[in-house]
Each structure stands twice: as structure tokens, then as C-alpha cells.
């Protein structure tokens, strides 16, 4: 009996490891290719292990193009988007969970419909909304005459901030708080704002960790919005720059892979250290974007 179980365990283990190896194989190709010499690349893919680990490929690849600038762009956009979206969505979630007001249900369902609506469908009109943003980028009050938020960080950030799922998650989270919490605060004469700021925000750490993590990765990985909204090299994010890197000259696979590694590195680090929150977030939101 116990022999049978051991056999079962061994077979299961081997099977799972084989599957994991298949999944991980492309990532191994990524790493090994990035460290190969030009000569090895030219002779085609022969083995997973480079003759010599050429770590200098990574700084070399970063030297081809203005990568510090692209990283700055991506980091700035990500930080602003995450902070703004956490504040905006959690305050809306707080109101939906705790404050009585007219039209609450209707407004909430309106927001939730937006959750089902993929951004790709409305990419044309959203682009126009960005271009015709009133009073900015040379536009008049009707949004005519200029370029609006095209080639502007806010043009990328604004469409990403309002996130119905963030509202939904925050509402669920705050609804689990005991009601006595804000009743006590109310007796002390606190306004809704001070209840939110003094009581709810300090207790939102795990909500913000999960939501913030998902939003960080989502924003960092954005390709479509920056592609539509920017048209100069200075405004490119890392994802756009990586795609452009592929297009320049003939493809030098080792440098392309080296650049790819650098770009996924922030996400990889977050993933390795915060894996638990990642999985928690994915499971509880069920949706990534």
C-alpha cells in the first residue's frame, strides 16, 4: 500500500516538474540568449548554455537608445497612476459601502457595467477625448485647435485611473468593517471625510497592497495606450521602446533579449517577493484588467 502511494507521488512529481519545465523553457531561452555572443547567435540556437556568460550584453543593450529616459517615463507614469487610482477608487468604494445617498445603486451598477467594457472597443473615441481635452495642449474650451493631452504623461495616466474593479474591491473590503467603527467616530463629531481619512485609510493596507500591486504591473505592462497617445521618442515607455528596438536595423537577438530582461526585471522582483499578494489579488479580483 505505502509503496503504491510512493510510486504515485513520484509519478505525480515527475509529471508536474515536466510541465513546469515546458512552461519555463521560453524564459530559459530568454536568459541564455541574452548572454550569448554575436557569433553564437549567428550560428543559430544550438544550446541553452552560452559558451561564456556575457553579462556586459545588458549594459550594452541599454546603451543602444535612451533607456534611462524610457525607464523614467514608465516609472513616473506607473507611480502617479497607482497613487491616483488607489485614492479615487477607494474613496468611491467607501461611499458606496458606507454612506447613504440618492441614486447609489444606479450609480454603482453604471460603474460595474464599465467593468465588462474592454478598453480596446472604445480606443478611438478615448483617443479623441484625449486629443480634445478642454483647455490643455492649445485647445479651447470645446477641445478644438490643439493636441490636448497627446504626448503628455496625463494622456496615458488619466484613462487608466478610474478602475471600476478597484471600486468594487474597495466596496467589498469596507463592507466587512464593523459598523460600530464609524458610529463611534460619528459620535465624536467626525465628518465623513475625517472618518475615511482617519479610520478607513489606515486600515486599508492589505487592500492597497493587493490593488496597488495589480495596478502597478498592469500600468508598467501597458502597450496600447502609450502607443496611441505618444508619438515622439522622448515620451516612449519601456514597452514601446522595446518594440521599437526590435524594429531598428536587423534584429540582434542577444541585445533584444537583454533589453527584455531589464524590462521584466521590476515585475519579476515584485512577483518573487510578493507572490502571495499577487495570487490573492488575482483570485479575489478574478480579473486582471
Amino acid at each position: 500500500m505505502s509503496k503504491q502511494i510512493i510510486m504515485k507521488k513520484v509519478i505525480l512529481k515527475i509529471l508536474i516538474i515536466i510541465i513546469a519545465l515546458i512552461v519555463i523553457f521560453p524564459l530559459c531561452v530568454l536568459l541564455s540568449t541574452a548572454l550569448k555572443s554575436d557569433r553564437e547567435i549567428a550560428s543559430g540556437f544550438v544550446s541553452l548554455t552560452p559558451e561564456k556568460l556575457l553579462w556586459e550584453n545588458i549594459p550594452k543593450a541599454m546603451g543602444m537608445g535612451d533607456w534611462p529616459r524610457y525607464f523614467f517615463n514608465s516609472a513616473l507614469i506607473t507611480v502617479i497612476t497607482v497613487v491616483c487610482s488607489l485614492l479615487i477608487n477607494s474613496s468611491a468604494g467607501f461611499a458606496f459601502a458606507r454612506l447613504p445617498f440618492k441614486g447609489k445603486n444606479v450609480l454603482f451598477y453604471c460603474a460595474m457595467i464599465g467593468m465588462m467594457l474592454p478598453m480596446q472597443i472604445i480606443m478611438l473615441p478615448v483617443f479623441l477625448q484625449i486629443k480634445e481635452f478642454p483647455l490643455l495642449g492649445g485647445n479651447n474650451i470645446l477641445g478644438q485647435g490643439g493636441i490636448g493631452l497627446i504626448n503628455n504623461y496625463w494622456g496615458i495616466i488619466l484613462p487608466l485611473i478610474a478602475h471600476p474593479f478597484g471600486v468594487f474591491m474597495s466596496r467589498q473590503y469596507y463592507m466587512n468593517f464593523p459598523k460600530e467603527l464609524d458610529e463611534a467616530a460619528k459620535l465624536d463629531g467626525c465628518s465623513a471625510l475625517s472618518i475615511y481619512v482617519r479610520v478607513y485609510l489606515p486600515l486599508s493596507k492589505s487592500l492597497f497592497a493587493t490593488l496597488g500591486l495589480l495596478k502597478t504591473v498592469d500600468t508598467w505592462n501597458q502597450y496600447t495606450w502609450p502607443l496611441l497617445v505618444t508619438n515622439t521618442k522622448e515620451m516612449q515607455t519601456v514597452q514601446l521602446a522595446l518594440n521599437a528596438f526590435k524594429g531598428e536595423n536587423t534584429v540582434q537577438w542577444n541585445y533584444l533579449m537583454a533589453a527584455t530582461i531589464v524590462i521584466i526585471l521590476p515585475v519579476l522582483v515584485l512577483f518573487i517577493f510578493l507572490q502571495k499578494y499577487f495570487v490573492q489579488g488575482i483570485v479575489s479580483t478574478g480579473m486582471k484588467d
Binding site: 540556437f45 468611491a92 472597443i121 496600447t224
Partner: protein, 285 residues
Amino acid sequence: MKGKVKIAPYCFIAPFFIIFTYFYFVPVFKVIMDSFTDYDMFTKRNFVGLKNYIDLVKDETFILSIGNTFFYTACMLFPALVIGLLLACLIGSSLVKTRYTRMAIFMPHVFSMVAISMIWLYLYEPNNGVLNQILKTMHLRGSKWLRDPEIALFCLAVMGIWKSVGYYMVVFLSGLKGISLQYYEAAKIDGAGPVNTFFHITLPLLKPTTTFLLITGIISSFNVFEQVNIMTGGGPLNRTTTMVHQIYTAGFAEYKLGYASAMSVILLLIVIGISILNFGLTNKE
């Protein structure tokens, strides 16, 4: 005092709703309005009635892109769901420790589509790319992969499966955790084998998870765009062009915004149809 209480809640939701209205609701109306015009971003909009929609029906590339989108969804989503579920069952059986393998399988999900595309471009490289070299050592003939019109879309689907399978596994695992062990014990007492248990207990009890993944999966694979734009540009012979890629091309390369809006409306109708179907099916129970 009373007036103050009334206004406060709206102040909390205002920042969200102003941005949400500006970037979600107004665009939905705008795209429907624009689909009846010949807008080209530079000249004034002229009302053209149903002309865009009539042109769409005659547009062979667009019809092809609808077919491609359906094909991609079928080839990517269903295998990914099945593999994800099987993996979840294998890994969830808790006989062995799987922390690191789980992590490895889930990892591709968190990387950007651009990065993933770069890796797979090298795997699929027709001259001396990874897959062809491996086939060569096994004395098999290589393929042109993404440049072969017959299999290019399928290649994209395989990459999609690879990227999403870990996500489906993780969601299924959480679904499995929600199933009470009593069911399994009862099945064991009744002498049900693992296959029987799977089909009569696991699968029916996982239905909410499966429906959820199916609906969100259909909607997201109907909107496949990034990998198409990065890896194939819709080619070869338009065999990998998808609906969103057509919208992008018509709108941002040819500046036929009115026409592209009509395409968007078609896609919007399909997504609404799927959502209604979903609500209909889930409300029945």
C-alpha cells in the same frame, strides 16, 4: 448640517465618476455617433447614414478578421481552460509540495505582452530560431511559423495558451479549495474512481468558476490586439488580423475614423451579446 450630509457622498464618488464618464461613457456614445459619419480627424464630420456598415459587410478583410478572432478564441481559450483545470487538479491533489512549480507556471501571466512577444519571436524565428533548431536536431523539417499563413494564427494561440494557463490554474485552484472535502469522502465511500469523481463532483461544483473564466476569457480574447500588432502586423496575407487590429489600422493608419467606429460598434454588440448570454445563463439557476 443636513445639506452637508447630503453633498458629502457625492464628493467621494465625484473624482471617480468624472474621469469614468469622460473616458468610458462619453466614448461609448461618441463611437456610436461617429460610426454614422465619415470623420477622418482633420475635416468636419458629415453624416453618411448606414454607409459605413454597408461597406463593412462588403469588406473582405474585416469579415476575415471576424473569422480570425473567433478562430483565435476557440484555439486559445478552450485548450487553456482545459489545461488550466487539469493542472489545478494535479497540483491541488496535495500529494507533493508544489510551491515553486506553481510559481513557475504562473509566472508568464505577469509579464508584459511586448516582452513575451519578443521571446516567442525568437522561438518562432524561421531561419535559425529555437523551434526550428530543435526540430533539426530531431531530423524533422522546420516550419516558417508566423510567416506561414496556414499556421500563423495558431502559433499566436499557442503563445496565448502558454501565457494564460497559469492564471487559469490559479483561479481554478481557488475554486477547488472551496469544494468541501465531504463530497470527496462520500464519493470514496461509494467507491467512485478518480475519473468519476472528477466528472460528477469536481466539474459540476466548479461551474461558477468555469463560467466566470469562460465569459471573461471570451471577452478578452475577442480583444486580442497587442501580440498581433507586435509580432505579425496582421500578416501574412491578413491571416492573423483581428477585429481590434482592423479597428487600429483603419483608425490610426488610414484615418478612417468613421469607418473604424462602425467596426468598434460591431465588436461592442458582440461583447454585449456575450454578457447578456452570461447573465441569462447564470440567472436561470
